[in-house]
Subunit: 214 residues, 2 copies
DNA sequence: ATTATCTATAGATCTATAGATAATGC
DNA sequence: ATTATCTATAGATCTATAGATAATGC
């Protein structure tokens, strides 16, 4: 059986690292992603050098290019990793006609907030980087627009949502989406509050915006 | 009468500029601030060079240092300019015991969103720059915390807010603040919607979060 | 032989300062 | 004389590539 890269244990091919390899058990690429997540969110994307990322991942700057094409590559991977799970959940919820739309919308909000606030870094802050508007990240924007659309569909499937004019429903979907995004940023600033309860409270607030009485 | 700097018209002291001075009627410092606002919000702070700012303001890179101490100086000035007007309004509203707190909270939300969404650039996006966490911007954070506190005070002054437990009121103030902040970012993405109506809708959504029936 | 890593560095920046220059003001 | 600007540049980066090296695999 070939040694799984990243299990940390076995003999490793290739020249040994100059510094001790971190014992996180992650693959080298995932260690780079974790380092990038921390540095991009705490110091800023443009302000983070390839050297800083590589060295936090326990390798020399040039070695990074063995695993990723460059900084943009790291950012693109991190961005997609933040939306993909929520989008998968949204797909399931949209298909599940057996539950009231109110419940399903609440669950999507809750999970979305829990996912982003629960991680070790504030990856939500990456969404708003000006750099992310570039064509290079069109894939991410497409996925994100799909998630936004799922919010809108669940919203109009609620009783309160169905009673709204089309424009008004669109507007409220934007407000809900804005709440989710903003709350992720505020949560970080606020610091220590239980993530689960906070996510639940945000979901309730979203339903109040839609017009559901909670 | 000494010629007011920035009126654009009169004879100017000093070596002439190599390129035509923009005819915005702004002082050189304000032209730098406007250039920085555009570039920081569209390309990112760290990604914007002093040369880019200076040249957009119609002067050579080195000349910028005659007016500002550097890039950080520009960012600090822009940040404070976004909170100061809302904080002044908040002060007036807190002092005005003659109006129902519901109305005053609504007005603060509306004005805050209108101010940030109404400007030519998305200055709200500067709040979330990781660079802004540095000690250098402590002044800004102090002012911003005051604004957050004003939201909290108006919230507990409403009938619905007064009925909440202390923790729950704090939580909802964070949610309202998160909504305002997030909405500013979403609005930009959403593009063309009338700012006034959007600000009003956000204010209504904030009151719903508090628990007021609107 | 293959692989993962290293060291070294060319080329391209970018910031901030030094010192020159071309106006007006008196 | 004062002021606002310019040109030039030293010093400090940072990215991405070239080429060497030290392991394992067969």
């Amino acid at each position: 059986m070939p040694s799984t890269p990243g299990t940390g244990g076995g003999r490793r091919v290739g020249r040994p690292r100059a510094t001790q390899r971190p014992d996180t058990g992650l693959s080298a690429r995932d260690e780079l992603l974790a380092a990038a997540a921390e540095l991009f969110t705490t110091r800023g994307y443009a302000a983070t050098t390839t050297r800083a990322v590589a060295e936090r991942a326990g390798m020399r700057q040039a070695t990074m290019y063995h695993y990723v094409a460059g900084k943009e590559d790291l950012l693109a991977a991190l961005l997609e990793s933040t939306v993909t799970p929520s989008l998968a959940l949204a797909g399931e919820l949209l298909a599940d006609g057996g539950r009231p739309a109110e419940d399903r919308l609440r669950e999507l909000c809750r999970a979305d907030v829990a996912l982003l606030c629960g991680g070790p870094y504030n990856l939500g802050a990456l969404y708003v980087l000006p750099e992310v508007r570039a064509e290079r990240f069109a894939d991410f924007h497409r996925v994100r627009a799909e998630l936004r659309s799922a919010y809108g569909q669940l919203l109009v499937a609620t009783d309160a949502g169905a009673a709204l004019a089309k424009d008004e429903a669109e507007l409220r979907a934007d407000l809900v989406f804005g709440l989710i995004e903003g709350v992720i940023l505020v949560h970080l600033a606020g610091g220590e509050r239980a993530v689960g309860a906070f996510a639940q409270a945000t979901a309730d607030a979203a339903l109040r915006i839609v017009g559901v009485t909670v």
